[in-house]
Amino acid sequence: MAEHSSRRNFLRHASIGTAVAGATVLAPIALGRNAASAQNRTPAATSGSVHQGPLVAYVKNAHTGEIAVMAGEREIVHRDPQLAAQLGRIAATSKS
């Protein structure tokens, strides 16, 4: 149950984009997946500064791993099938 709660919190923060929390939660996961799919990842996901404002991560296509990360008036399309799949599993879990 606690795990569900935690995942729900993650999903809420990551997809609803509640400011700092969303960014800080999403970023470690993305970094954690770096080694597995580096060829599919934009350089910004592995290094550099962390966005501090609200952001939205939108899994546009779970099969291709296409994730649109929106912040301010920008959109960065990030391709990471494993992260997309993980988010998909979280979403499926949150249905219960």
Partner: protein, 550 residues
Amino acid sequence: MSSHKEAPAISNDPVADNTDVYAFVSPDRPDTVTLIANFSPLEDPAGGPNFDEFGDDVLYEIHIDNNGDGLPDITYQFRFTTVNTIPSTFLYNVGTIESIDSKNWNRRQFATVTRVSNGGGKDGTSQQLGSNLPCPPCNIGPLSTPNYADLAEQAIHTLPGGCKLFTGQRAEGFYVDIGAIFDLADLRPFQNLHVGSSMPAAPGVNGPKAKNIQSIALQVPACDLTANGKAPTSVTDPNSTIGVYATASRQRSRMFEDDGTIVNSGPFVQVSRLGNPLFNEVLVPISKKDFFNSQAPVNDKQFAGDVATPELSQLLPVLYPGVFPNLAALNASGKPRADLLAILLTGIPAGIVPGFQNVTGNGSVQADMLRLNMAIPPTLQSPSNLGLIGMDAAGFPNGRRVFDDVTTIELRALAGATYPLVDKTYTPDAAAGAITQGLTSSNTDVTADNTVHYLPCFPYLGTPHGGYYNPDDNTPAPDLNTTPLGGPDTGLGGSRHGTDTTKVIGGTVLATAAALAGATALKYQARSTTPAGAASSTGSTSDDHTPVAP
């Protein structure tokens, strides 16, 4: 209507709903062009306490294509910021708003306008023309806004380079018998001929009567819009013609927080667009309307089929049996409507209407845009509300003026009145040149009900209707077994006495298109002999709305 609530999705987003676009050589400043984009359809003047306004979260744009590639070369961007100066009150204003900076005025809106050329990228530029430019309040009533015209005057801003800007509420200038048209195309002046109607002919009823809109009006020197930076002087010079369209865009993501705030994220995505009036509304099928609003004009080839075989043209002979036999034959032939493709998607090339052209570029790119040949001077005396088919080349589809009866023009075109432009062997049905909404008395009538509010100068659309005086029409719908005779007499509809079926079918009323080319050329030639900007006295005296005896 022109583009009011024309697609399912945008119907639910009024502040982003582009209702009308106008582009015309300014009649009082013929070295300038006035561009108007209206939003927020069918505003009720008594819309308090939260009166209508622009969306702070909407990117409004007016685009200019000056080389015919279907892509914007110049874009004017408009953003708005709203401020509550007295956050402790529920009121829009706490006293008379006596000036544009009145302390009694609580909820105020400010505009920022930016000119972007060539996309603003590496080879482009972006210049902010003005910021924090106050919009006027809405017209509330005699206690709150007693001197509304003065307030509006204070909201006309002079920008660098000789531009003028107004952003705020105006009286709706578009007129249409929307209730009849979307009741199975039952035009009231002709409803005695409609297959499903047992009602006698009646004058038209102006649907958007006494409504307001939010208007963005920008007046710019014509030389600012041309590809070569020079003032247009020659009708045949490709640089003289521009394509104009407007868009509204929202950020891709919108999040509703638990505290009532909304967080928008991501790039702006187009949710509304408008070039030619009625294009999306009447030509594009409902399943593609939202998609159309997302698309750029450069991709409009994908909608050419909807223009080439318009559904309404197919319906007219069915709805009005025996009235449109030639149109029925044209429909049956399967020939594409090359006249409509030219008028709406490429512009009319040289050689079709002598002395006139408004094709953009080489005409190879099909794009829904208003096309304005800026070298054609404004018609100052007796302009025809039927524009080019009324033998007035300064009006629609050469750009669009606020009083142009675009609904009648396009209905006539759809009925085949303009097909002789591309096939001189085709004879339009007499009815094609007689179609009217019954909202004006003649071609030169620019006072259709509620359009008396037009102004002779910028921003051209008139003082908005006030909330206090908002008309209250509680006329009940007719009971069973009574025959409605049409709405109130809302105009001097020439066909109010009914239409004689035999005369229309027999051809007593002339279709204008067959003679259009020559007549237009004659008029333009006559005007071109007068000094630029001088009044032309050769305005059409024809009256296609001449009452027909019952």
